[in-house]
């Protein structure tokens, strides 16, 4: 197990009349280098779970593991966990506080006590990794950037300390279609070529479902399903009962199958759908 939980339970405001159980005995494990999607309706506990994986919350009971160690109260161990696991919150640009893009991205490396030239190096490297050009950008005020640029700056701020794991909460919300595709390409590249372990919490499976190895489904604080993405996505009726939407392209394939066309419905991206339909049409002809 690289990262995971064992019977993790979290109760907000325990012992008060307002006590509410956000996570109920959650156990799962994810391998190093894997790409996982965390899905579930609003209020199902996704954000609470993510905060535990980064040591931001303390379990009411149960444990969180990272790289063979339990994430515990030991402060120095926690610091190393946060250095190795990068967390990108929802709408991360809402939390910008620096005067320049450079300072925003340099915040974490600076806190790690790096020398000024090392800080600059990690800032430039991080900016380039997210596909922005440092030259025109680093001196600007973060609020002067477009939404897509801001999101990438927020991403660079997390990448600046070179985490081994990236946890992202609804990272594409508010991005335009090309911004979304760029983000998914970036996630795919970080995962496939740089072997970064990725966990994405999202409501929208379009295109990103095709990148995932694993899927975790939360509902009402319970881990309803966990396993290989394809196997869980095939459990259509259960997903529907939870009010979760499949990728639209998958809905099209399901509809074609329902109309009697012998197509595979194990399809989660436009390119896969196109290949499958063309295969069918060629087979018809041949």
């Amino acid at each position: 197990m690289f990262i995971g939980t064992d019977k993790l339970t979290h109760t907000y405001m325990p012992g008060t009349p307002f006590a509410s159980a956000a996570l109920k005995s959650i156990s799962f494990s994810l391998g190093r280098g894997s790409f996982t999607l965390l899905i579930g309706p609003s209020g199902s506990g996704k954000t609470t779970l993510i905060q535990h994986l980064n040591g931001l919350l303390k379990p009411t009971s149960g444990k969180v593991y990272f790289d063979g160690q339990s994430i515990g109260p030991d402060k120095s161990a926690l610091l190393s966990v946060r250095r190795r696991i990068g967390l990108l919150f929802q709408m991360p640009e809402d939390q910008f506080f620096s005067e320049t893009v450079f300072d925003e991205i340099a915040y974490a490396p600076r806190n790690l006590g790096l020398a000024e030239n090392e800080i600059e190096e990690s800032v430039i490297k991080a900016v380039e990794r997210v596909g922005l050009r440092p030259k025109n950008l680093l001196g600007r005020h973060p609020f002067q950037l477009s939404a897509g640029q801001k999101r990438r700056v927020a991403f660079a701020a997390v990448l600046s300390i070179e985490p081994e794991v990236l946890i992202l909460d609804e990272p594409a919300a508010g991005l335009d279609p090309s911004g979304k595709l760029m983000l998914f390409d970036l996630l795919s590249r970080l995962n496939r070529t740089e072997k970064i372990t990725i966990l994405v919490s999202t409501h929208h499976l379009d295109e990103i479902a095709a990148l995932a190895d694993n899927l975790l489904v939360l509902n009402g604080g319970r881990l309803e399903m966990a396993g290989k993405a394809r196997e869980i996505l095939a459990r259509r009726a259960e997903l529907q009962d939870l009010g979760l939407a499949l990728p639209q392209v998958t809905e099209i394939m399901d509809e074609l199958a329902a109309r009697g066309l012998p197509v595979s419905t194990d399809i989660y991206s436009l390119s896969a759908a196109s290949k499958e339909i063309i295969r069918l049409k060629r087979a018809d002809q041949g």
Partner: protein
């Protein structure tokens, strides 16, 4: 036979807006926009990040004032400071993040907030709050603290607060971006119903082509200018235009396009999933 012409609710004339303090390389956020929105019209506003959609919406709601040109809301210019209340009452705004727009400690107080600011008599406030809550299915939640609501319920509470002001138009800036599929469905259905049943004009900024399908008309912005204005079936199937702007057509239109590139013969105007499925069930041709 008399033809009733719909009343113009919003009119933007030669609208320019420039954010102060931007670098010298930046062009104005809005660069000469002319736009009319009629009573009962559902307008979707598309455009890449940074194209000026949110800026335009803020100008329509008098949150920003034009650098040049003007915005008329029911004939009132947004720069007429003493009539600002009338403008904002006629045109309410829903933001992307429901948590950023809820101000009160219960749903009913939140719905009543705008009305209290208008200094209406309390019986009238009570009547309107109950009426809109009933209309939007929020009656059972009136005493609830808003932070315990789902995302969809929060957005509907915000819509109720606007509806209580008896507006002519509702402006929405990506109102479903943070919602789960059920919340998204809930909000879109609510707005569509109000648009049809009460002739409420809607200006809906979205990045999701599937949401724009339901509009009467789509306006596309690029770098602060309107570059396309037409029916959903024209705009959302014009992939050449959309891709050039960093946008996408509906999933059905995109998939149809990929299939055509592989030699499949399909009708040009495929926008909805159902249309693609029908065509594929019929078509046997491949070139």
């Amino acid at each position: 036979m008399a033809v009733l012409k719909a009343e113009t609710i919003i009119e933007a004339k030669a609208l320019y807006y420039s954010y102060a303090g931007e670098g010298e390389d930046s062009s104005p956020a809005l660069n000469g926009v002319d736009l009319k929105v009629d009573q009962g019209e559902y307008l979707a506003l598309l455009g890449a990040n940074g194209s000026g959609k949110t800026t335009l919406l803020k100008l329509l709601n008098a949150l920003l004032m034009p650098s040049q040109g003007e915005v008329l809301v029911k004939g009132i210019s947004t720069v007429e400071a003493q009539k600002l209340e009338l403008v904002r009452q006629a045109c309410g705004m829903i933001f992307q993040n429901p948590d950023n727009q809820i101000v009160a400690t219960t749903v009913e107080e939140d719905i009543a907030f705008g009305l209290e600011n208008l200094a209406l008599p309390s019986q009238e406030i009570r009547r309107r709050v109950d009426a809109v809550a009933g209309r939007l299915g929020l009656t059972h939640l009136l005493q609830h603290p808003p932070h315990l609501l789902s995302g969809g319920e929060k957005q509907r509470t915000a819509i109720a607060g606007i509806l209580a002001m008896q507006p002519a138009c509702i402006l929405m800036d990506e109102p479903t971006a943070m919602l789960d599929p059920f919340g998204r469905f809930e909000v879109l259905k609510t707005v569509k119903d109000l648009n049809k049943a009460e002739s409420l004009a809607v200006v809906h900024v979205t990045h999701n082509p599937a949401e724009a399908v339901e509009a009467d008309r789509i306006v596309v912005l690029e770098r602060g200018r309107i570059v396309a204005d037409g029916k959903p079936e024209e705009i959302l199937t014009d992939l050449k235009l959309l891709h050039k702007l960093g946008l996408q057509g509906t999933v059905a239109a995109e998939l149809a396009d990929l299939l055509r590139q592989e030699g499949l013969i399909l009708p040009a105007a495929i926008m909805r999933n159902q249309e693609l499925v029908e065509s594929l069930c019929l078509s046997e041709q491949i070139s």
